[in-house]
């Protein structure tokens, strides 16, 4: 996907002014924050489960190469083919080659954020392959001129029901529906023939299990099974190399946390563990199974100060709880991953120079760290990315009390004078970002240190 993060400021202004989006975001954040709170309360000991999950993910990442090789050996032994891609573009080329090898005319896809990194649909279509998104949200986006997703779990969360009603009526050329079950049924009518005539299914993967060579997929609509098991000859899993975990027991711990943190569900409606293609005597499964495992910048984080980020299981809790995301939505962030996790991943994967706003556009309130099931210290990682801009004068004075105190005294006087009798400043030189929206309450007199000294009170040094 093309990086649009340089337009952050302009886009955030548009999104703040979009009344419908603001309403949608409010509904989302309330539903999912409450949902998560209730869902984690069901666990006997959420904190202990979380600690255990962090430890299991860290164990996998500490020997990532070993577990990936183990995964490859096991998956290969069960008849699948494992392919490695250094860049997202390489990964797309591999998928296009697979499609050519099996003479694929049509691909059905279940939701995959890694395929967004790869711009997979564009590459497949350029090679003459028809691609059909089958996750309802992704389907809506695809028929709306390939609009990008705005949330990693709920790609279409920025749209209201009315917008989808209009879109369906226009694209499906049927009478406009307003009842959600009816609309879903209509989408199903359009998708069913696609599933039945598909040559190849593409899915993401929430986890790769090294000991069995399997992929685990959490979904809510059942479309993933239609893409991977039902008719297609070929199933291709595209996912990141950091998704590997050693054992099924590790998966059990992750399964306790992922749906609860994501959508507030105890378990997602569908949960598949897929292992190898259809074996002789088996009733279902694809004839051929491929794994395309993408690096795409991930190894660059290994062993460095951003390694914690690789624990991310893509639940979206950080964005659901982020006061900034709740106001500007996902598109503003300009690439595949929005919210706090995206503000760390996007600069890491596509380059800080294209994403200067992302690490800075955060209040560092810390709620993302509090809710992250993997305890990723997102505020600390954002701080590490922040540029050293405009702080030189402050740092010089704050280090030197002899300079600082007169400046503070003068500052208090000037601000006090600017505030006048009303004690507020409505236009702050050099601080228009503040004073366009807020008054600056002004000081009412000398600094505390001046008052304290005047009273002859205890000071150090005397």
């Amino acid at each position: 996907m093309q990086v649009q993060s340089m337009h952050f400021k302009a886009r955030s202004g548009q999104k703040l002014a979009d009344v419908r989006l603001q309403q949608n975001l409010k509904v989302l954040s309330q539903r999912w924050t409450v949902g998560r709170t209730n869902a984690i309360a069901e666990l006997d000991d959420f904190e202990a489960t979380r600690d255990e999950a962090v430890e299991r993910r860290n164990r996998a990442l500490a020997n990532l190469d070993v577990w990936l090789e183990r995964f490859e050996a096991q998956a290969t032994a069960r008849g699948a083919t494992v392919l490695w891609a250094e860049t997202p573009e390489d990964a797309s080329k591999l998928v296009v080659e697979i499609a050519r090898r099996h003479e694929v005319a049509k691909v059905t896809k279940s939701k995959s954020m890694v395929s967004e990194e790869m711009a997979l649909n564009r590459h497949l279509e350029a090679a003459g392959v028809k691609v059909v998104e089958t996750d309802l949200g992704e389907y809506i986006l695809q028929i709306n001129d390939n609009e990008p997703p705005s949330h990693i779990v709920a790609p279409v969360v920025h749209k209201s029901k009315d917008e989808v009603s209009d879109l369906f009526a226009r694209v499906h050329k049927r009478p406009r529906l307003t009842d959600i079950p009816q609309m879903t049924r209509e989408a199903r009518e359009f998708l069913r023939p696609q599933f039945l005539s598909s040559d190849m299914g593409v899915s993401g993967g929430n986890f790769l299990i090294a000991e069995t060579g399997s992929v685990a997929v959490f979904t809510n609509e059942g479309n993933e099974g239609m893409c991977t098991v039902l008719p297609p000859k070929v199933h291709v899993v595209v996912t990141g190399i950091e998704k590997v975990i050693p054992t099924l027991e590790d998966l059990a711990t992750m399964a306790r946390l992922l749906p609860r943190s994501a959508t507030g569900q105890s378990i997602s409606n569908y949960f598949s563990i897929l292992t190898g293609p259809r074996a002789p005597g088996e009733q279902d499964g694809p004839e051929h199974m491929y794994f395309v495992l993408v690096d795409g910048g991930r190894t660059g984080l290994l062993g460095g100060e951003f390694q914690d980020m690789l624990r991310c299981i893509r639940c979206g809790a950080c964005m659901n709880h982020c006061p900034v995301y709740q106001k500007i939505g996902g598109h503003t962030y300009g690439w595949v991953y929005p919210g706090p996790m995206g503000s760390v991943l996007t600069p890491s994967y596509v380059g800080l120079e294209k994403t200067l706003d992302l690490p800075q556009a955060a209040t560092l309130c810390g709620e993302c760290h509090v809710v992250c099931p993997m305890k990723i210290p997102l505020p600390d990682l954002l701080r590490k990315l922040r540029e050293r801009l405009g702080m030189a004068a402050w740092a010089f004075a704050a280090r030197r009390p002899a300079v600082y105190r007169p400046l503070a005294r003068i500052g208090a006087r000037v601000l006090g004078w600017m505030g006048g009798d009303a004690h507020r400043i409505s236009s702050l030189p050099g601080g228009s970002g503040w004073s366009l929206y807020r008054d600056m309450p002004s000081p009412v007199g000398p600094t505390f240190k001046e008052r304290w000294a005047k009273q002859g009170r205890r000071t150090t040094p005397r």
């Binding site: 560092l364 807020r438 240190k449 205890r458 040094p461």
Partner: protein, 254 residues
Amino acid sequence: MKVGLFITCLVDVMRPEIAEATVRLLESAGCTVEVPMTQTCCGQPGYNSGDTTAASDLALKFLMEFEGFDYVVVPSGSCGGMVRQHYPALFADDPDLRNRIDALAQKTFELTAFLHDVIGLASLPGSFAGEVTYHDSCSGLRELGVQAQPRALLALNPSIRLTEMKEARACCGFGGTFAIKYGDISSAIVDEKIGHIHASGAPCVVLGDLGCMLNIEGRLRRTGDNTTRVLHIAQVLAGTAADAPSPSATQEAR
């Protein structure tokens, strides 16, 4: 008990009356309060902007100024969080300094945590009456776990009625330089907070951090609310709130 007061730069310049209220509370609790006059800033603005060199320099300066006290008290959750949570990380590679910084961090307290957890304050030195709502500041809440203490201290005064607002834990949108660099997003976030303050019905919002205070008060006034009072918890507990510039007085002055 010898207590070093870290005033914080914003309180020193913008709201010295909060430091005076803090002194009143500490002295009424039997503490001997001293103010190192060379103190400037804890270093958080630099730290949050990625300037860890400046932040480390200021942490060392803070150490020199304050390590001789029995306790260090700060009327701010974010400066307190800087000292307790972030100073130690700055000296991970220097075991000697790290030990001294750890010892300093352990005896540095946000004001309400100190009064409640260390002193066990049982009575308040001044009077204040009325209905208030309380905003939890991010750093105090999430870095220091300050949530029960201010409420317990407010409950010591039977003339104060605390009405909780919805989402008291949610960020007000200040975020330091964030409020200036992304003023439009910041003000959209503070509008949510103001909506919850108004919905609570309380005529006064109480909080423990200057950043939130200036942000919330600045936005209230800009949007035409000249009556909702914004007070620091120290002013309310010390009963010096009348000394603060009151919104009604400001309104008349306009």
